[in-house]
């Protein structure tokens, strides 16, 4: 049985200019011990879809889904009190900006202890012991002294480690990492990614990695979901996706990577920009930028379909030779 099961998740925001669909029909299923990566450019709805699962969206957001279950419990109908028991304990999240996700007014030890007190009800000594254990686990040297440190005394990499320590404090079954390394230097990024994957292995938790860095995805994820303008366009095993992307968008996105075009004079590009709130086309959202666009793409939105081991939203997927069918 899968840990998190999502069918047809949509998130809408009411704006002055009308309803904006930030997430449109996302299907996800995350098993135990799984590493799933959600990739997409900015504004593709990758963060919003996971924030919806966490229940962290503001009240203006209208979350709908056919099914959103965590361990068989329907997250949509849970009372917020019950939901808070799951969030932070069984599902936890790490955010992009480590420097601004920690509260600057409290010590690191206090902030880690908060989670432990709330969810596990540990007393002061037990909290301290566990906090030291956690800091040690995420590779912070001299953890006992670090407990008394304030966030401004830590570097970006250290802050992110503290965030990870907080997130894994209650041994979650699912960890959502939202762009955990975007703000960090490459050598520190490598350390944090290694740490996350090791923790995932040791603790047997499931990891959802939200990122726009294809390299990070290729080196860590088992399965990949590609999102474009709020829609899920492709889902595949990581190896398959990078070898034979079937959606024209995935195909073009991978081609645009600098490392894939070392022999070429210029980088292949995707013309145009991601459609915004006001200028979404009818039919397939990628159709104005797609190389293989045909009449039916402009007329109606392709459904999300399973084709062998790939979930696709495309009428004319790209085959192995890079030709549209």
């Amino acid at each position: 049985m899968s840990l998190l099961e999502i069918r047809n998740l949509s998130v809408e925001f009411e704006t002055v200019k009308g309803t904006f669909r930030a997430v449109d029909g996302v299907d996800l299923s995350i098993g135990e011990n799984d590493i799933l990566s959600i990739v997409g450019e900015s504004g593709s709805g990758k963060s919003v879809s996971m924030l919806a699962v966490m229940g962290l969206l503001p009240w203006t957001a209208n979350v709908t889904a056919d099914k959103m279950e965590f361990e068989g419990r329907n997250l949509l109908t849970l009372s917020s009190k019950e939901r808070r028991k799951i969030i932070g304990q069984d599902i936890s999240m790490i955010f992009q900006e480590p420097m601004s996700s920690l509260n600057p007014c409290f010590t690191v030890g206090f902030q880690i202890g908060e989670t432990l007190k709330e969810h596990l009800g540990l007393d002061r000594n037990a909290r301290k012991k566990r906090a030291i254990e956690l800091l040690d686990l995420v590779g912070i040297p001299a953890p006992e002294e670090r407990l008394k440190a304030f966030p401004h005394q830590l570097s970006g990499g250290m802050s992110q480690r503290v965030m990870i320590a907080m997130a894994i404090a209650c041994n979650p079954k699912l960890l959502v990492a939202d762009e955990p390394t975007t703000a960090l230097d490459v050598t520190i990024q490598a350390q944090i990614i290694d740490l996350l994957v090791n923790l995932q292995n040791e603790k047997g938790m499931a990891l959802v990695l939200i990122t726009h860095d294809m390299g990070v995805v290729a080196e860590t994820a088992k399965r990949v979901v590609v999102m474009y303008a709020g829609q899920q366009v492709e889902q595949q095993e990581a190896n398959g996706l990078f070898a034979t992307p079937h959606h024209p968008y995935t195909h073009a996105l991978l081609d645009a990577l600098p490392e894939r075009s070392l022999g070429l004079d210029r980088l292949p590009t995707i013309e145009g920009i991601v459609p915004g709130a006001g200028d979404r086309p009818d039919g397939c959202l990628f159709s104005p930028r797609c190389k293989y666009v045909q009449d039916d793409c402009r007329a109606s939105v392709p459904p999300l379909e399973n084709i062998s081991d790939t979930t696709l939203r495309c009428f004319h997927p790209v085959d192995l030779e890079g030709q549209a069918t």
Partner: protein, 325 residues
């Protein structure tokens, strides 16, 4: 042929107040001895993590700051000679693009005004000619003439970066300095902007100084590379030589930490333990010795000189061991 831009033993030190009221000020060596020479039409990439001095070097090259020691030459002329009398003229030849296109364009000015400002300040051109110049430049960077009357907030990040490029090229400079020009952009947009940079470099025969931490981009665009660590140059030479076989342990670690989609491009990950030391209090001897895997006693006492080894400049006592590993 004289180089378009040349740096000779550039140093830039800052005085920083010590902690506490009576503490002595300390010296921060942001750039500590960097030399380079770049011809028209070529690209020099400056690579390193945050705090390594790459942006300070950009400030020296653009004559925003005066080097503490050493000289900079723009087409053979030293701007800081004769009390800086030549600076206004030479500044027209060196232009810069910044990292964040949301911060570098004045939100209260129209694109046309932004583009014409450098011409108004530096040259005597009629309003009609200026407008024509701005419109051709907009066309060159892939924007339309009607964008002339719009404000920066009406553009996406990628388009803003194009405006920034257009502004930098309005004066037909000889040297273009790009300080992390694509790191704030999505992959597909990044490819577009890189292509524009390469096209315009070819067309205008620009010497391009490309500052970046993203080695996959650098590999694509650079002719020469300079790797910096805590203000010191650790390795410098032809890009192809260094990418094929990096000789400094730090360069190796940087390359290993850069995630790659293609398994063939992946290098064995050299794990860097620890964090970047504070530039205020750099370790004695070789600045990298605290994180280096080849470290021996000599490294913590004597700073290695930048020497020619294996067809490039490298500052390491044990470059031989590093190359063979």
């Amino acid at each position: 042929m004289t180089a378009a831009i040349e740096g000779h033993e550039l140093k830039r030190y800052y005085q920083v107040k010590g902690e506490g009221f009576f503490a002595k000020p300390t010296i921060l060596k942001a750039v500590d001895g960097a030399s380079f020479s770049l011809e028209s039409g070529k690209t020099l990439a400056i690579v390193g993590e945050s705090g390594c001095g790459k942006s300070t070097l950009a400030r020296l090259a653009t004559m925003i700051e005066k080097p503490t020691e050493g000289n900079i030459f723009i087409s053979g002329a030293d701007p800081h000679a004769h009390g800086g009398a030549e600076i206004p003229r030479l500044r027209q030849d060196v232009q810069i693009i910044f990292q964040n296109p949301y911060g570098s364009l004045n939100p209260r000015k129209k694109v046309g005004v932004i583009l014409e400002e450098p011409v108004i300040i530096n040259q005597n051109v009629s309003a009609a000619d200026r407008r024509r110049l701005a419109e051709t430049m907009l066309d060159k960077v892939g924007l339309r003439p009607e964008h002339y009357d719009r404000y920066p907030h009406m553009f996406s990040g990628g388009q803003r970066q194009r405006i920034a490029i257009a502004r930098a090229l309005m004066l037909k400079p000889k040297v273009l300095i790009a300080d992390e020009p694509v790191s704030a952009l999505d992959i597909s947009i990044q490819a577009q902007v890189l292509n524009i940079l390469m096209d315009l470099q070819e067309e205008m025969n620009l010497a391009l100084v490309f500052i970046s931490h993203d080695l996959s981009v650098v590999r694509r665009i650079a002719d020469q590379i300079m790797v910096m660590y805590l203000g010191k140059v650790v390795e410098q030479g032809e890009a192809s030589t260094i990418f094929a076989n990096p000789a400094h342990p730090y360069t190796q670690a940087l390359l290993g930490a850069t995630p790659a989609v293609d398994p063939k491009l992946r290098r064995e990950r050299v794990k860097l333990t620890g964090e970047l030391p504070s530039p205020l209090n750099p370790p004695p001897g070789c600045p990298f010795h605290t994180r280096c895997r080849f470290v021996q006693d000599i490294c913590s006492s004597t700073a290695p000189p930048l020497e020619t080894k294996f067809e490039r400049l490298v500052a390491c006592h044990f470059a031989e061991a590093a190359v063979e590993s």
